[in-house]
């Protein structure tokens, strides 16, 4: 009995952590280059919606997945232009991207499917095959990306330059690094990765897109990134932690009863990840150091 619970909790943790890992790794690239990415939520939604629609229309989950990534990159480009070219306040512009992706999918889905709330279900035959019953290729990809990102960030010239751009853009510029181009690249990578997380949500974990289905996961991914002090391996651990709390809420929903015999009200269970995020931020941010140039637009000195 307990073995079953532990196993189901383990796999539920992996499932819940997967979209967070994608999104947080996305945020890692953007923020390491000095661009705050509070738009992760919107970028995830772009990926989730596009992947669901293209899968539904083409009956090919791989097309859907790739289309989701392209949508994420395109939206990230809009965000990058606002933040890098026009030097917009990154937090404000990021929220605009998030708002856009609340409205736009609903409008499009209203035209295609006559429903602004959600898309139809994707048929089981049109979904990507699973590795085992409870483990998907999406999760494997997310976990595999962690060492890959670590390698890129710390062992390649690209990673070194990216980090330099986020820490001291003027020095990087003086050393011949194109700060602006690096930031564009980093934000686009972050759009692709966040969109992958969204695509996993709509076509992997569930089988349809519903309005605002990310439900704050973009922000939780950001909290995980802060908790992990902007480093890839701790990002994995932080996402697993948040994934575990989500898995726990799903698992205990039916299991633990109050003394009165009733279940714990669903509202309280829903709150757990949000409360934990606040506590974690309060407890860890003091010891956490952001990339030095984070949030500051770069102006070349002439």
């Amino acid at each position: 009995m307990t073995d079953i619970v532990i196993f189901s909790l383990l796999f539920a943790t992996i499932r819940s952590a997967t979209p967070l890992i994608f999104a947080a790794l996305g945020g890692l690239f953007s923020e390491r280059s000095g661009v705050i990415n509070i738009a992760l939520e919107g970028l995830m939604l772009a990926g989730a919606f596009t992947a669901a629609v293209v899968t539904l229309q083409t009956h090919n989950p791989y097309f859907g997945f790739v289309a989701g990534l392209i949508a994420g990159a395109a939206l990230a480009l809009v965000y990058a232009v606002a933040c890098i070219k026009f030097e917009a306040d990154q937090v404000v512009a990021g929220m605009a991207i998030n708002f856009l992706m609340i409205g736009l999918p609903a409008l499009i889905s209203g035209v295609i499917y006559d429903s602004t709330g959600s898309t139809p279900q994707i048929a089981l035959a049109d979904k990507m095959p699973m590795v085992t019953n409870s483990l998907s290729w999406g999760s494997i990809l997310a976990f595999a990306l962690v060492p890959a990102c670590w390698y890129i960030l710390y062992k390649t010239p690209f990673g070194l330059r990216l980090r330099a751009v986020g820490e001291n853009p003027a020095a990087a510029d003086a050393a011949g690094v194109n700060v602006i181009r690096f930031r564009y690249t980093a934000v686009m990578i972050s759009g692709i990765l966040a969109a992958a997380g969204g695509a996993y949500l709509s076509t992997g974990q569930s089988s349809l897109f519903t309005k605002q289905m990310t439900a704050g996961r973009g922000f939780i991914a950001l909290a995980a990134l802060i908790l992990a002090k902007w480093r890839p391996v701790p990002v994995l651990l932080a996402c697993l932690f948040f994934g575990f709390t989500e898995a726990l809420t799903i698992t205990i929903q039916g299991m633990i009863k109050l003394p009165s015999g009733e279940g714990i009200p669903v509202q309280f269970i829903e709150m757990i990840p949000y409360v934990l995020t606040i506590i974690v931020l309060a407890g860890f941010i003091g010891t956490s150091r952001a990339p030095k140039a984070l949030g500051i637009p770069y102006k070349k000195e002439s």
Binding site: A82, F99, I102, G103, L107, G216, Q267, E270, Y274
Partner: protein, 366 residues
């Protein structure tokens, strides 16, 4: 200040939003000109339309001011939505518990209240409850920022989820009339209710729910202006927003101002509870806000974080809220979700081009 420079970019942002919106309407398969004329004619066409437009603008004046005060201190309050939910529930709770609220359950009357206060006590008590609850929900992220340095954007978003779930829980389990299919509380006592404007301004049509909360909103525009530009606290708050380290150097406690700004911000958002619960609905309902808390960000940015600008921008969004009901109903594909898109474009434009509104002390770190 040059007035043309003040209003140029906001106007460009609005025009750009309508242009982008028009293209989207066209792509969706509707006629943008029809949609936009529906939008405008139904929000300005008659006295009734104007009354409704102002009614829709009222909560946006409160949230716009709320976001603007926080912005002036260099903070982005995305938590107005949670703050107004908690506040509206608090107003309803006081209105039920102290308003002699009677509930009919299966034909039998039941008294849910503790006491029945007269209107001259209960009306202000409900107002104070709303303002205090909103202020508290704003003060939490303010305190967390001041004490631990955790970012207000993430914390306010988390507190939105928590606050909305919390009041939803209390509504569902304790204050809903059994058998009511809608997730709402029982009616507040009559003594807690505030009058509609058409009760004494007879030229306003009978069906316009515009109530004295609108006058309160106008008063708040004046008070916020006076606070920010005519008091020492307001000066200190703005100083922290302009340049926190310079303010600290000048002997101003940035931490204190962060808490003050977030508390005031929450209180202003909380005032929506007054108009909506005491004035319009006479109960608290889950999902009653038309995303006013988030719209407040666009209102504040478009209004240049100035009370007068906020008032104008709120009325502009009031037009959209009033008009989009008709656009939704009389076009084939355009739904209310277009509002999110217009908002997003406006915010993006204002954020991108209004360079001189940006904080000088460096951006916030996340």
């Amino acid at each position: 200040m040059n007035i043309i420079r003040e209003i140029f970019w906001p106007l460009v942002a609005v025009l750009a939003a309508f242009l982008v919106g028009g293209v989207i309407i066209l792509l969706l398969g509707d006629n943008p000109i029809t949609a936009y004329s529906l939008l405008l004619s139904n929000s300005f066409g008659s006295l009734r339309d104007i009354g409704w437009t102002l009614h829709y603008a009222t909560p946006l004046i409160f949230t716009g001011l709320a976001v603007a005060v926080a912005f002036r201190c260099g903070l982005l309050n995305i938590g107005a939505e949670g703050q107004l939910y908690v506040a509206a529930f608090a107003a309803a709770w006081v209105g039920i518990k102290f308003g002699g609220a009677m509930v009919e359950i299966a034909g039998k009357k039941e008294d849910w209240s503790w006491m029945s206060l007269p209107a001259f006590l209960l009306v202000p008590l409900c107002m104070i409850a709303a303002i205090a609850a909103g202020g508290l929900w704003g003060a939490i992220p303010g305190y967390l920022k001041a004490r631990f340095g955790s970012h207000e954007v993430i914390n306010t978003i988390m507190l939105n989820f928590i606050g909305i779930a919390l009041v939803g829980y209390f509504t569902q389990y304790f204050y809903k009339v059994p058998g009511d299919p809608i997730q709402r509380t029982a009616e507040i006592g009559e003594a807690a209710q505030i009058p509609r404007l058409n009760e004494f301004l007879t030229f306003i049509p009978y069906d316009v729910p515009l109530n004295i909360a609108f006058l309160l909103a106008l008063l708040m525009c004046v008070l916020v202006w006076a606070f920010l530009w005519k008091t020492k606290w307001g000066y200190e708050l703005r100083a922290v927003g302009e340049n926190p380290s310079a303010a600290e150097y000048g002997g101003i406690s940035a931490k204190k101002q962060v808490i003050v700004a977030m508390t005031i911000s929450g209180m202003l958002a909380g005032m929506i509870g007054i108009g909506e619960v005491q004035g319009t609905r006479h109960h608290f309902e889950v999902g009653f806000s038309a995303d006013w808390g988030f719209l407040g960000i666009a209102v504040a940015l478009l209004g240049r974080n100035h009370p007068l600008g906020v008032l104008i921008a709120a009325i502009f969004f009031g037009v959209l809220s009033r008009g989009e009901i008709f656009v939704d109903a009389f076009t084939r594909y355009v739904s209310k979700d277009l509002g999110w898109v217009l908002q997003a474009v406006i915010i993006l434009f204002v954020a991108s081009f209004q360079t001189y509104t940006r904080r000088k002390g460096g951006a916030t770190k996340i």
